[in-house]
Symmetry: C2
Subunit: 429 residues, 2 copies
Amino acid sequence: MSTPPLRLGIAGLGTVGAGVVKIVRQKAALLAERTGREIVITAVSARNRDKDRGVPMGDYAWEDDPVTLATRDDVDILVELMGGSDGPAKAATEAAIAAGKDVVTANKAMLAHNGQALAMQAEKAGTVLRFEAAVAGGIPVVKALTEGLAGNEITRVMGVMNGTCNYILTRMEDGGLSYDAAFAEADALGYLEADPDLDVGGIDAAHKLAILSAIAFGTQVDFASVELEGIGAVSIDDIRQAADMGYKIKLLGVARMTGRGLEQSMAPCLVPATSPLGQLQGGTNMVVIEGDQVGQVVLRGAGAGEGPTASAVIGDVMDIARGLRISTFGQPAARLAQARPAKVATPAPYYLRLALLDKPGALAKVATALGDAGVSINRMRQYDHVADTAPVLIVTHKTTRAALDASIEGMLQTGVVARPPVVLRIEEV
Amino acid sequence: MSTPPLRLGIAGLGTVGAGVVKIVRQKAALLAERTGREIVITAVSARNRDKDRGVPMGDYAWEDDPVTLATRDDVDILVELMGGSDGPAKAATEAAIAAGKDVVTANKAMLAHNGQALAMQAEKAGTVLRFEAAVAGGIPVVKALTEGLAGNEITRVMGVMNGTCNYILTRMEDGGLSYDAAFAEADALGYLEADPDLDVGGIDAAHKLAILSAIAFGTQVDFASVELEGIGAVSIDDIRQAADMGYKIKLLGVARMTGRGLEQSMAPCLVPATSPLGQLQGGTNMVVIEGDQVGQVVLRGAGAGEGPTASAVIGDVMDIARGLRISTFGQPAARLAQARPAKVATPAPYYLRLALLDKPGALAKVATALGDAGVSINRMRQYDHVADTAPVLIVTHKTTRAALDASIEGMLQTGVVARPPVVLRIEEV
């Protein structure tokens, strides 16, 4: 091969970084065969030089400072695996781009917060910034959306993209655990981020959704506009009642382009138990893409872990080795339209769980409040009283969130419900 | 944009061809925005010039002969959508390559039979030959395997890749139809190829499997070695009995690299009813890829139809517009190893349905024949006699096909079974 080797500088040697080093070492021949170019590591950087990472690091130059690593003459691609939306990750990425180097990153927070600025810098410098590993781990969804389905106008992207949340919800469902018990179990297994709110608050998954939205709809990443609700308020009661009516509860991200603008939400939703999303168990991720030509494409796989995430990083590196030089979000960054965020208002069926007080005519008043707001009932169940309230479940026909909120306002005014109801959207899949 | 337009010559204006023309016409701005290059059609070719295809063809030069189309000076990419393993499709493809043009095709038969030769020609000429639409329609599975998961050593590829067969099996299952009735229904709906054996004989799906194998394992396409069995012998009895034991019957393609060589089979198999493959209904396709790093990735979507197939063709065209110049099967054609075909011998559980004659000790003799061949029984059920035989169902523990065949030989010799049993592999997913 006459082409010189492609030289990687890896910043961040945690689980994923070590995984990338292992693949480059162990699969050198395979990578060269498939790309027509030798891929080597020249330098690495991490916080702790002396840690045993299960793979020899002595062959590579060591840099304490990732920015210095990023600008080394013998580095062609910065592989940024440190994480964090700003700080060293962003500094190293910017330094690499300024030095005319390509960047491969797994950093969803950085892209969700600074993706547009970085894409603009990369475009100006003529460098490539790729991030398959940032969304849904090993599933090649960024590639599918940016390239394979590029001839489609995308109508909706959705997915379960935080394995920890899906693990917790699955354990509540299968094991009958309370949220707190399932959370504690996930924690004991080491599934939670240092700041658990990134997981259970839905922030990590929302980062990923905002990135997919940008590619799908040709808009600038707009993480701030994602309507965000974590899984902390999901109760075992709702899990059970939903199951009873043929649904599962998932932390579901949905991005949809509407006449009013871009809707993005990351919130617990009901999906049919028999749908691919409903069938998803444990830590697995799933992304559903809907295009005007292709219809619905579903991608499923491991959303995290050393092997899957390293696989995605290496895929990006191999693309660059093969000469693919694609715009960060699939089209020139300067032409990405500013997203016009819209409140989630696409009509959908909703699930309501009410605590009905033991008063004459209480159920009639609830039904009247719904009817007055134009919300029609698909299914309703009242259960036996627990203490002084009776649980009432309602599945509505398709309605807007505004009409639903008006009906709830009406119910609360009648004084027949003990507290505001639990409200979950039912996403049609 | 300073780059000159990318000019397509489309050979074949059936459903997919018309779909491609529509997308290029209607989405010109989108395609240019995403690729940085204008994509235009300059010339077309088909058998019947006068047919109404629902989209105006008058803007394009007409060629009666696809080979002439392929070599026109104003064509950069031949889009081959005629079909057929040889004949005009191959002639036009070879002519285009010889003239230094890139080729995008949806032609699985041509690739299954002539893929290696064409890849060699393209490599020598420095042209690109792409074929996303040839496998599983709109699902970007060729891209996933060739690019996104390129850092993996693939251990198994499998899938349901013929929508017509899956439709027939689903109708037998849901509608309680006989094979003949479900076949007639599919025929009436226009789902069957002119030669139905391409569908129900498993040939079409086997073409696709052989192509995926080549990419997955870096071997030359070896369609001739696929162990092939269609769905014609699947009975409603087996569908029901399988369901009763928690399985579905699918026409499943499985390719696996073993120490003995490459196993490729396309045959009716049992899969767990709750697995993603088991859940697949109707005409949808699914491909499952297993890699040493990524674990299991599942891709699901429409396997045929105008929009999905055209979406895949356009994806390939856009890749070329973006400058991606990748080897046909993901690595240089000259280095693809000749596949070393191996009979399917990886141990698996098997499903047997026997017609047991009403003789004393008959069941014991069957059990003995299994035991003598080293086949152990996981589950066995005997049902009431129908006429002079009793249906007996057996699910074995993992065993080799050779041991199973020996046990069947033994059973037949005892004279207690009325005929050779139905044998279906249970593929673990």
